[in-house]
């Protein structure tokens, strides 16, 4: 199976003026972003900044109140079925069907993403090997540790080789060895042309693997810029300036 990336010069992801209210308050306001192929964008922000809401909208699990989302130049809100093949999503805390085994999860996700027959079997085998899930394949998801759940969630997101990978706190509950493996895997995906957007609380995560960082605060995009390798101090300064300053003028 080949990676499903349509031949187009358009960015993989374009967000324009996204607004979304949750629980009666604005969770995301006037958010615009673009993400080209092969780029890793880190989404930073304090708790409640709107990161998970943004990622849920991008993944197709939640519709924005206003604004547009384009995938490879095509209107995603008009064609939500695009999510099936083009997007891989790992939600926060990796929700799973506890009564299914790891192998059954992969099978179910593959089918939901349109894979069948030999292609499905090949995709499942490949992702089981890549994420070292072989010893867990027959284990029920309900008895997995949090780190194992996270790996299974990641496997489900990567199974169908999406053009856009949406990861919400992917390093949650992983041990240092697994974090290193995750970083290698994400870089490998990006090198193969997959656009990656990941939210995290860890600034080190962003400086280690991201090409670009966007900082959300109170639902608004307050910073969008390149990440300079190893320049952790500069990113930390920017982040804390935004996080500690409740209502500054809108930034880049």
């Amino acid at each position: 199976m080949t990676t499903i990336i349509p031949a187009t010069s358009a960015p993989v992801l374009e967000l324009e003026h996204l607004d979304r209210h949750r629980a009666g308050r604005p969770a995301v306001q006037d958010l615009s972003l673009t993400l080209p192929r092969g780029q890793i964008l880190g989404l930073l922000g304090v708790n409640g900044a709107g990161k998970s809401t943004t990622l849920s909208m991008i993944a197709g699990a939640l519709r924005p109140d206003r604004g547009s989302i384009k995938l490879n130049g095509q209107d995603f809100l008009e064609q939500p079925e695009l999510a099936r093949t083009w997007i891989g999503w790992l939600p926060e805390r990796a929700p799973l069907w506890t009564e299914l085994t790891v192998a059954e999860h992969l099978d179910a996700h593959g089918r939901l993403r349109g894979l069948r027959g030999a292609a499905l079997r090949e995709a499942c085998t490949s992702i089981i090997e890549r994420l070292e899930l072989r010893p867990l394949a027959r284990r029920l998801a309900g008895v997995l540790s949090q780190g194992q759940r996270q790996r299974l969630g990641l496997a489900c997101a990567l199974l169908h080789k999406p053009a856009l990978l949406v990861l919400d706190e992917p390093a949650n509950a992983l041990d240092p060895v697994q974090v290193a493996a995750l970083r290698t895997l994400i870089r490998g995906q990006a090198a193969a042309g997959t656009a990656v957007i990941l939210s995290t609380h860890l600034l080190a995560e962003v400086t280690a693997i991201c090409d670009r960082v966007a900082i959300l605060h109170e639902g608004r995009l307050r910073h969008d810029g390149a990440v300079r390798a190893g320049d952790h101090a500069a990113l930390e300064k920017t982040f804390f300036e935004i996080a500690m300053n409740p209502r500054p003028a809108r930034a880049a």
Partner: protein, 251 residues
């Protein structure tokens, strides 16, 4: 196609959950025991009935009453079976996984409904196998049995749709089960007051499920009765779909 994928997923989850097996085992054991009692009573009264030229037979005294007992059990079994289909997914946080896979709300609902319906039809088939096992040794009224079976199929289909709708609106599976049970019982007996007052027609009687099941169990198939069940199932599934679509829209 995606409805079948959802149905397959739901079916798989049903088969590995202990609840479905426990319900099947306990209800079939109960029905088996009742079948034995009904059969014993039928055999005991055979000599007296031989004197009646048009007396009730095996179908009237064993097969249809057995199906009637299944209908009574369905009021409890169907809510327990359907309570988790949407409310459980919502509680586990797995519902957004289906949304994010681009599966429309209508197909999520339909897929889950089909899986539940398949289980219920299998349950009905196993119950039917008891009187059918004696078909070679007794005289079965096939027309009456077919009508009663159709009545049960329609009733199970309507109750399953009602259960799926309640699960779609509830935040917790237990609430969904309680709601489905209460709505189903209310639908069954909504005309009780009218019947006690001697009123046997009108809208209130039309609304009651019992009005439409009982003729079918007696072997009378009417398109109006069939339509009632189809309408109830369609309305319930439409409500569940609407609720799910709204959830996706508004979070």
């Amino acid at each position: 196609m995606s409805a079948l994928v959802v149905a397959r997923l739901e079916w798989r989850r049903l088969l590995v959950r202990p609840l479905a097996w426990v319900l099947a085992a306990m209800t079939l054991a109960w029905l088996g025991w009742n079948f034995t009692l009904l059969l014993g009573s039928f055999l005991a009264g055979q000599i007296q009935r031989a004197a009646l030229p048009d007396g009730p037979g095996f179908t009237d005294l064993v097969a249809v009453p057995l199906l009637g007992q299944l209908a009574q059990l369905a009021f409890l079994v169907v809510p327990l079976l359907t309570m988790s289909v949407l409310a459980g997914e919502r509680r586990n946080g797995t519902l957004p996984l289906l949304f994010a896979a681009g599966v429309p709300a209508s197909r999520i609902v339909l897929g889950k409904y089909l899986a539940i319906l398949a289980w219920l039809l299998l349950w009905l088939l196993l119950t039917l196998s008891m009187p059918l096992a004696l078909a070679h040794a007794t005289h079965l009224d096939w027309g009456k049995l077919a009508a009663a079976t159709l009545g049960l199929v329609l009733m199970l289909a309507a109750l399953a749709a009602l259960g799926v709708a309640c699960s779609g609106f509830a935040s917790h599976p237990a609430i969904a089960a309680a709601a489905a049970l209460i709505v189903a019982l209310a639908l069954w007996s909504v005309n009780l007051g009218a019947q006690m007052a001697g009123i046997n027609g009108g809208a209130i009687n039309w609304l009651a499920m019992s009005t439409h099941v009982q003729p079918l169990l007696r072997g009378l198939v009417s398109s109006a009765d069939v339509l009632w069940f189809v309408l109830l199932a369609a309305l319930s599934l439409a409500l569940a779909t609407r609720r799910l679509a709204t959830e996706m829209e508004h979070g």
